[in-house]
Every structure is written in C-alpha cells, then in structure tokens.
Amino acid sequence: SEDNSTTAAEGLSGTVTVFAAASLKDTFTAIADEFEDRNPNATVQLSFAGSSDLVTQITAGAPADVFASANTANMDKLTDAGLVAGAPVDFATNTLMIAVPAGNPAGITGLVDLADPALDVVVCAPQVPCGSATVTVEEASGTDIPAVSEESSVTDVLGKVTSGQADAGLVYVTDVAAAGDAVEGIEFEESAEAVNVYPISAVEGGNQELAEAFIDLVTGAEGQEILTQAGFAKP
C-alpha cells in the first residue's frame, strides 16, 4: 500500500484486516493469498481465534475490517453491538463428524456406538457452537453420549483424539480433513440436524471497500472452491 507508483488498474491497495474463526485458518490463509495475488498492492492481515474471543476483541476496539464467525450467534452479538456494516452473508456450512484415532482402535461405526460408557468420548461444551450442535444431534438421534470431557473449543476435542487420549470425539468435517492421517472421520446421518452456518460481514468503521472485495472473493466461485476442498459445504 506504500507503493503508490503502481496504477489503480492493478487492483485495490491498502490493508484489510480479517478476524476469522480459528477453524477457518487454512482456508482463509489460502483465500488471502489469492486476494493478494489479485491485488498486488493490497495486504490481508489475518487474526484467528475463537469466534466469541473475536467478538469481544472487536467490541473492545480491535481494528477489524471483516469478521467471519463460526456461528450465527456470535455474528448476532456483533450486530447487537451495532458494529456490523451492512448485512451478514452466510458463506459456508459445516457439519459434525465423529473423529477417531488412526486405525479406529475402538471400532466405532456410528453415533450410537458413542453411548458406550466404556469408551472415552470427548465433545464440545454446550456453551460453544460445536457443543450446541452436539446437543442437537444427541436429541435428534435419541443418543445420550456420556462424554468424559466437554471442551471449550473444537481444537481441544481434536487434540484429545489426535493424541489418542480419547477413543472418539465429535468435531467438524473440516477438522477431520485438516488433521490429515492422525485421525479418521466417520459420518453419521443425524449430523444433518445440526448444520452450522458461517456468516461473514464487514465491520463498522473499517475499510468498507476492501472488506466488500474480500467478502466477494469468499462468497465467489474461487473462495467457495477453496472452502469445499477443505470439507465445508455451501450454505
């Protein structure tokens, strides 16, 4: 952006700061690279953390231009605080999946298996988005999972599974994809009952032009392609 010698024809210039949920780390890093390729004079600053952390930070004055949340509840909080510019757009969905350590030592095949009290199953706490989704699928399937731990973030659930500490955990499809060989994912049909929607929005007081351009890229074909490859579904 310092480089004013280049012409406007080569795209936008300046820095756009994107606050995104931690589960978007890989995809948004790729999208940001794409954005910078298209706009050589523009820089994307990425800040990843839990969605509610990000809301707290933006409310406290963090210099965000774009906010991408892992659920609608946190976007609503920001809207209530009057910090959303325009209307939030849903750009991806994510569903739950059973993650088991490589080789699936406990031989788990579906959600009902998780009701076995002999197994160490880890889920998210109901207070956080992945946890409320967990509650929904439990109710839908009539399964009662005797979890040994209710983590405050999906990262911590995944960490317990990758380290082999837990026999199984309920995480997002995208988490399983990102974790690579360390875990195996097992789909289950009740997951459709709790589709997690990811909204994105420009932040009040930020650089609207760049924000809109970034959001366009995310919701556009190229962004959607990147997201799909990571396991996200279209809204």
Partner: protein, 264 residues
C-alpha cells in the same frame, strides 16, 4: 539495620515505582468495576460455579501436597548437595515456570497420555489417568512445583548449614537432622512456598485444558469455568474472575505474612 533504608530512596524512584504499581493495580480495579454487584451472589453460586470452585480448591490442595512431598526433597538436593550437571538440572526443573502452560499440557499428554511415553505401561497396570481428576492434579503440580522448589531453595541457602553441622556433631544422623533441625528451621519457607504453589495451581488453565479436559465436577476447574462462561455470560465470567483474584490475593498476602515472621 536491614529492612528500610537509613539513607532513604530517591523520590523519583518512588514515583516510578508508583507508576509501576498502578500498572498492575488499575487492571484489577477495572475488573472490580465491571462486576455486576446486584447479580454477583447469584452469578457465583450457580451449580457449575460452585462445582468448579470446589474442584479447584480440592485439586489445588492435592497438588500443593504433591509439591511439598516432591519439592522439599528437590530443594534440599539443589541447596545442600553439589554434583555435576546441577545447574542444568535446576534450569530444567524450573522450566515449567516460564513454559507456556499449553506446551506443558502437550508435554504431559505425550508422557502420561494413553499413547504417551509412560501411558502404555500405566494402562497395563490398570491406571487410567486420562480425563480424571488425577490428571488435573498432575497438570497443576507440573506448573506449581518450581514455585516451591525455587522459594525453598532460597530459604535453605539463606538459613545456611551451621545449625545442621552442630546437630550432626551432637550425634544426629542425617534423617534426624532433617526432621528435627532443617525442616523446623525452614518451615516458614516451606509454608510460603506451599502457599505460592497453591495459588499457582489455583490459577492453572492451559495445561489443565490441554491435558485433563473439562468436565463439570471432574476436571473443570475455576479458570476453565471462567473461560467457558465467557462464551455465553461475560458477567458471570467477570464475577468468577474476581473470586479467583480474591482467593489469590488472600493467598499471596498470607505467604508474605508468614515469610515476614521468619525467625531472624
């Protein structure tokens, strides 16, 4: 004549010290001001808050005990013997003091976890630490141990070995010296070290989260509860933070009160 300076401390030094103190005190004040006092009682007495506080107090007490059992001998070994590699050992033992707790939690997972270094042997012995209150105590002990070792080693060096030497010439074997002379003499150091350990265990968050998990009444201690409450109820989180601050102030103040009362 130790204690306060007969010569006085320059005023400008006190002024800078005041700024430094404010830097720590104002944030604490900011928390106090944010508390919704009308709701305070209700917020800190919900089931989950009470369970978390109780669990925190229990596990902190247990890990303080573990710190005493292992830390007191470690402090003696560092202060009262000399051997090759002692400096390296001390650096290693004090490491949890400066390690990000999350890294500490990962390390513990790789050690006592099911697929950890010792985990398989433990599993064969029928011991399953994972997701148990024991894991919380382990995590807290890991981060709190250096506090006890560090402060007690200092107390031991300050106390010197003269009384121990006298006791030996009076016919006391090493164990008797330890029991009847060394330990009573450094008792204030042990108490203050234990209190610091207790406070650190009480505040432990990252290692517990990573290693032990978070289940109400089993592994979800007060700091984890605070972290979780933030997701839904910021007021409750602030109120609980204040409870934690209050317990910590109490406990640090107590430590220094005991230390001040140390003989000589």
């Amino acid at each position: 004549m130790s204690g306060h300076a007969p010569t006085g401390v320059p005023r400008w030094v006190l002024a800078v010290a005041g700024v430094g103190a404010l830097f720590v005190i104002i944030p604490l004040l900011a928390i106090v001001l944010r508390v919704d006092w009308a709701q305070f009682g209700a917020l800190i007495t919900t089931d989950s808050s009470r369970a978390a506080l109780l669990l925190s107090l229990q596990t902190s007490a247990a890990s303080t005990l573990a710190c005493i059992v292992f830390g007191v001998p470690m402090a003696f070994a560092l202060a009262r013997t000399s051997f090759r590699g002692q400096r390296v050992l001390r650096a290693l033992v004090l490491l949890p003091l400066v390690l990000p707790p999350v890294v500490g939690g990962i390390a513990l997972l790789y050690t006592f976890g099911r697929q950890g270094l010792l985990g398989e042997s433990l599993t064969m012995l029928g011991v399953d630490i994972a997701f148990s209150t024991t894991a919380v105590v382990l995590a807290q002990t890991f981060v709190a141990l250096p506090f006890l070792v560090l402060s007690l080693e200092g107390a031991l060096r300050t106390a010197g070995t003269r009384y121990e030497a006298v006791a030996a010439t009076l016919g006391a074997r090493p164990t008797t010296v330890l029991r009847r002379v060394s330990l009573p003499l450094v008792l204030p150091g042990i108490v203050s070290g234990a209190v610091l350990s207790f406070a650190r265990a009480l505040g432990e968050f990252g290692a517990t989260l990573t290693f032990a998990g978070s289940l109400q009444g089993v592994t979800r201690t007060l700091p984890l509860e605070i972290y979780l409450q933030r997701e839904t109820d910021a007021d409750a989180a602030v109120a609980l933070s204040l409870v934690l601050v209050a317990v910590a102030v109490l406990v640090v103040g107590l430590a220094h009160r005991v230390q001040d009362g140390r003989p000589q």
